[in-house]
Symmetry: C2
Subunit: 260 residues, 2 copies
């Protein structure tokens, strides 16, 4: 059956996360149900590059979707965006997936952005999109204390208790903390992440930014490999899945015009 | 009674606009009701620099608020942000207002930003924050056609039928159209605007951007002074009140820390 790659944006607020659940609505269910009209009336099957948690957003999630109908990619996009209304899920681009390509297993790099609103007043326009931290953070110190986490390590200290990965060895390529006024962004990139790894790292860096821990603390925790030591798991609303990169770029059809 | 200036952010989506209405919730009502505990238990009275319409947002609305209690500005901010929950209205800064200062009449410049999402796929993360235009827009041509609107003119062609201003003479200081990928922003600045002026100008510029009208059309409409000729009134969701400027800067108390 024809297989497609989708570039997907979503607001994670109303969903239980990417993965289909029996207890409520997920992004996967919205997409698979929206694809039913292209799949003989039954929900299609899909897999994502990154299985985001409840409340986590995406600007560039990559999804593979198998449907019965053989349609031009732009037609697939139009149909999915029509049938997924009014849910805050939007398919930005569609490509035909090549033989053997997997959204999850072919991915060679994933990027996340974590956004902190660092001011006293609560967010109005960014409600549900940021972690609101009211006490002043030292972003430069957070950045400095993040750098010793780069490279190939056992990240057991930063994984979730429920993490199902076989081992905790990961290679962290980037962990930048950048500030623009009251906006503090943590940019994390790696081939893959453990469950809750980004949010646990952010929660730990915030302890340093608040002055409650010294800058060498995030690395000491890494070396201790004890997941009870790390800072709090930062709330999901601040996290956005930004991109998934593949060895061979995907042949996106992204014409602004209507489908052919 | 003590009078304060407030710098206010809000998401306009759930409100009937700035102004208090008997038919539903307004930003003014949220703030005046939140101020009741500082005002002997009765709603306070307030006025805004710009009376935004239903669905229009603000990042930097300036409001004057009169309350019975004489409190440090940071205490006023904390109380308003506490009592206005969970509405998406947040008081960012508070200053004591000097004698004779008026949020509306002392204002010497106002700034608006209008945001267009120019792509085929509908917005997920920016739902309610943009005008979604699916056909390709030529932003450079829009900018070019906007420049002949600058200066002192009779803007009758761009005012709302319901506009209550005594005359339509206004001085437009800035009308820039800037593009960043699929994001197109219109930046408008003037001492004051007529009702719907920014949205009517944006709707007209979009006709040029779509190639449906020539670049000299916005100016021809201005000169004709006939409000039935302009392009559609662009939807409110794309509009944000960015700033109000005063001859003398306001002595904002904006400490990150807790109130004194």
């Amino acid at each position: 059956m024809p297989r497609y790659a989708l570039l997907v944006e979503y607001d994670g607020t109303p969903f239980l996360g990417w993965q289909r659940q029996t207890t409520g609505l997920s992004v996967q269910q919205v997409l698979e149900d929206a694809a039913a009209p292209l799949n003989g009336g039954v929900p299609a099957s899909s897999a994502a590059s990154g299985r985001t948690d409840a409340g986590v957003h995406a600007e560039g999630q990559v999804v593979e979707l198998t449907i019965a109908a053989d349609l031009p990619p732009l037609r697939v996009r139009e149909a999915l965006n029509f049938h997924s209304r009014p849910h805050p899920v939007s398919v930005l681009k569609v490509a035909r997936a090549s033989e053997g390509w997997s959204a999850r297993f072919s991915c060679i790099k994933r990027g996340y952005r974590y956004r902190i609103l660092n001011r006293r007043a609560r967010p109005a326009l960014l409600q549900g999109r940021v972690w609101h931290v009211q006490q002043p953070l030292d972003a430069a110190l957070m950045h400095q204390s993040a750098q010793p986490l780069l490279g190939h390590h056992d990240f057991s200290a930063y994984r979730a208790a429920a993490c199902q990965a076989k081992h905790a060895l990961r290679t962290l390529d980037r962990l930048d903390v950048v500030q623009a006024g009251e906006d503090i962004m943590v940019i994390a990139e790696a081939r893959s992440f453990l469950h809750h790894q980004v949010r646990n790292m952010v929660g730990t860096l915030v302890q340093v930014g608040l002055g409650k821990r010294k800058p060498d603390w995030p690395r000491l925790i890494l070396d201790a490999r004890d997941r009870t030591l790390a800072g709090q798991n930062a709330p999901p609303a601040g996290l956005t899945f930004m991109f998934a990169q593949y060895k061979t770029g995907l042949p996106w059809a992204d014409g602004l015009g209507t489908s052919e």
